[in-house]
Amino acid sequence: MSQVETVQPPAETETPLAWEPRIIAFLCYWCSYTGADNAGTSRLKYPANVDIIRVMCSGRVDPDLIMIAFAQGADGVMVCGCHIGDCHYIAGNHKTMTRMPLLSRVLQDFGIEPERFVHEWVSAAEGDKFARLVRQVTEQVRQVGPLDWPGRMYRRGVGHGEDLQPWGDQA
C-alpha cells in the first residue's frame, strides 16, 4: 500500500455540540483596556468568549505569546493597542503595527485561518468599537470552527514517534 495511505492521521473529529470559541485578547492598559472598561461602563453587551490579558503596551505582545496561545488551544487571538499616534509610550504600537501583518502571514502558512487572528486599534473612548469587535471576532471564529491545536498536533503525531521497538527486537 502507498506509504501515504498508511500514515494519514485519523480524520478530524466532528465539532462537539457544546463547543464555544475560546479567544484570548491582549489589550494595552492605557487605551484598549480602558476602551474595554468604557464598554463596561456603557453597559454594552457582548459574548463571554474573549478573555483579556493586560499588558502595559501592545508593543509588549511578543509574536511568540500569540503562537503559544494558539498552540495551547486558543481558537482565536486578538491584539488591541492605541491608535497610531496615540501610543502612551510614543511608538510601541508602531512595532505592533509592523509585527502583526508579518505574523499573520506566518500563521496562515501554518494553516491558521486569517479570521482567527485580529489586530485592531481601540482607544480609551471606543467602548462600542470594542464591543463590536468582540462580537465580530467571536462570530467569525465560530464560523471557522474549533482549532484545537494541541489535539490536532497530537493526532498528527507531532512531537512523538510511534513508540516502535528498537530495530532487531521484533520477532
Partner: protein, 687 residues
Amino acid sequence: MFDATDSAASGSTPGVQAPRVGVFVCHCGGNISDVVDVKRVAEEAARMPDVVFTTTHMFHCSDPGQALIEQKIREHALTRVVVAACSPTLHQITFRRAVERAGLNQYLFEHVNIREHVSWVIEDKEAATAKASRLVRAAVNRARLLVPLDKRRIPIHPAALVIGGGVAGLMAARDLGDRGMKVTLIENRPFLGGRMAQLWNVFPTNEEARPLLSDLVRDVVKHPLITILTGAHVVNSEGVVGDFKTKIKIDARGVDERLTYPGNAIAACPEETISEFDFALSRRKAIYMPYPGCFPPIPAIDWHTCTKCGKCVAAVGGKGINLDAKPRELTLHSGVIILATGYDPYEPLLGEYGYGIFPKVITLQQLHRMLDPEGPTAGALPFDSNTPVRIGFLHCVGARQIDGVNAPQPDGKVKDYCARTCCTAAMHAAVALRERFPKSHITSFYQDMRTYGRGHEEYYEQASQQGVLFVRYSPRHPPRVDKDRAGKWPIVVRTNDLLTDGLPIEVPLDLLVLATGVVPHDISELVTMYSCAVGYDSFLLEVHPKLRPVELAVSGVFLAGCCQGPMDITEACSAASAAASKAAAMISQGQVEMDPFIASVDEEVCTGCQTCLTVCPYDAIVRDEARGLAIVSEALCTGCGTCAAACPSSAIQQAGFNDRQVRAEIDVLLGPVVGRGPVQAPAEVVT
C-alpha cells in the same frame, strides 16, 4: 559550553517557601454579584495551588473592605493577594496601599477586573461566572510568580524649568517660587505675556487683560527665586527626571536697559513689517515694543527686518543699542520641567468664510485688538455708535470640522475637536459690542452654544436679552459668505436656520467676526526631545485625563495650559497651579518614585545582537562595548515592554509582565473546556 535549561518551575524556587495566595472577590454592592456568582468564583479559586484563603465582600474598596484585606494578610501570613473587583484604573492604587499597610510589598498584588469586563457586559449568568472564575484563577497563577518590586527612586535636582512665558507659564513659575523652589522661566519671544496680552477684556469678570497680566508679571519679575530669559529657545535636552540638562540658545536682543528713550529709537527706524502682535492689523518697526507696559520694558530688535542701518543708534546717542550683539548659549540644570507653550489661534484658510478676501471678515482675535484702546485702531471700530451697524459672529471656525465637509490643513487633518472657549468669548464680545453700539444688530451663527463655565451662561442670557439673534447652522452645511450683489452691504451670510426647521436665510453684514478655534503652538522639536505622547489632535497627551491630568508619561515633565488642549485663562491657571504643585511635590521629596515595570537585560543571556538598541523609543538601552551586552537605563525606561517582545533571545524581561507571568495566565485560560476534542498536554517547548 552553555546550559540552556530553565531552572524555575512554578512559583516556588528550591529553598524558598511556596507563596501563600489570598483571593478576595468583591460583590461591588450587586454590580458584580447580581450577575456573577462570587461565592462560586471564590470556591473555584480556592482549589488553585498555593491558595490558602478566599473570601467575598460587599465593597472591598470601602474602609471595612480594605481593613478585611489587611487583617487576612496578617492572619493567614499571605504573601500574594488577588482582588477581583472593578477596573484597576479605579482602585488598583487603593488595594496596593492596603497591601502595603499590611506589611506586604505592594506589587505582590494582582487586580482582576470582573465588573467592567464581565458583570457589566455579559448577560448569561453562567457564562459570566465561568469567565470571572477563569480570569481570577489566571490571576492566581500569575500572582504566584510575582516578586517584590521597589518603586524606583531617583534624586531630584532642586530647580524647575518652565518653558513658556504666557499666563500659564507665569502662574506656574510664581507658584513654584512661592513654594521656595528655584525656577527658570524661558520664553522664546522677546516679551512675556503670550496670548493673554493680546486680549482686550476677559470673561467672566470683564476685567482688562493686560493689567491682570501685569500683576502676575510683576510678581514673577520681583521674585528672588525666579530667573526670566526671553528670546530663549530649547536647542537640546538630555537627561531624565530629576536631572534634566537643557541647552538653550538666547537670541541677541540688541537693546539693553541703558536705553533711556525707546520711543526715539523706534521712531527713527526706517524698516517696517507686519505686526504679529496685532494679527496683521498694523505694522511695526524692526526695533519695537508690542504694547506699553510690556515686559521686559525695553524694545527688541527683529533681526529679520533690521538692516543694521544704525539710525536708531544715532537717535539715542549710541547708548543702549548694540547692533552687533550676538546670541549666546547656556545649559540649564533642572529636576522638573513644565511645558506651558500655549496655543496659536486657528488661522482660517484664504477664502474660508471669506477671510482674506473680504476686508470685513475678521477673526475674534483681531476684534480684540481693535477694541483694545491701546491697540492698532486705538479702540475704534469703523463705525460710530449712531449707525445701526450689522455685525455677525460665526462660531466653530476651525473647530468641530468634518472630514469631507471642511477643507483640511496642510497636514491633511481637519480640526474635529471643539475649541471650548470660543462660544463664551463670542458671547462676551457680542455683549460688549451691543453695549458700545446700542443701535447695532448682532447675529450669532452657531452649531451649539457651549457657554459651559461659571459665569459664562450669563453672557448668553445677556446677549439674548439684548436682542442678539441666534441662527443655528448644520455642521454639514456651513454658512456661505458672499459679497452682497446689490452692493448695499459689504457681505452677506447665507445659511439654513435649524431653529426654524431649516429656513434658508440671508443676513447682510457690515462686519463678520469669525470665532476661531485653537491649535497647539508648534513644539515638534520639544515633543521629540522629551518623547511626549501627542494625541491625534496634535495636543500633548496627559497620563490620564482624570487621575493624572497634568502629567506626561515622561516622568518629571508636566503640562500647564493650552499645550494640552483648548482652555480658557481660568482653566489654564488651574492647570498651571496643578502642574506647579506636582512639580514642587516632586522636588521637595528630594527623589522621585516611578512604577517599577521596567525592562532589564539578563546579562547571562544577552547575545549581543543589538536589536533592542534600535527598538526603544526612549533610547533607554545602551551597549556596554567592553562586554558586548545591552543595558537598560532604569531611569529612562518607561516600562512599555517593547524591547522584551523584540529580543530574539528572550534576554530582556519586563518586571511585572515577564514571559512566565503572562504564560501563567494563558495556562489557566486555555485549560480543558467542556466540549473540546481530546486534548493532550501541549507540545513540549524545549528550552
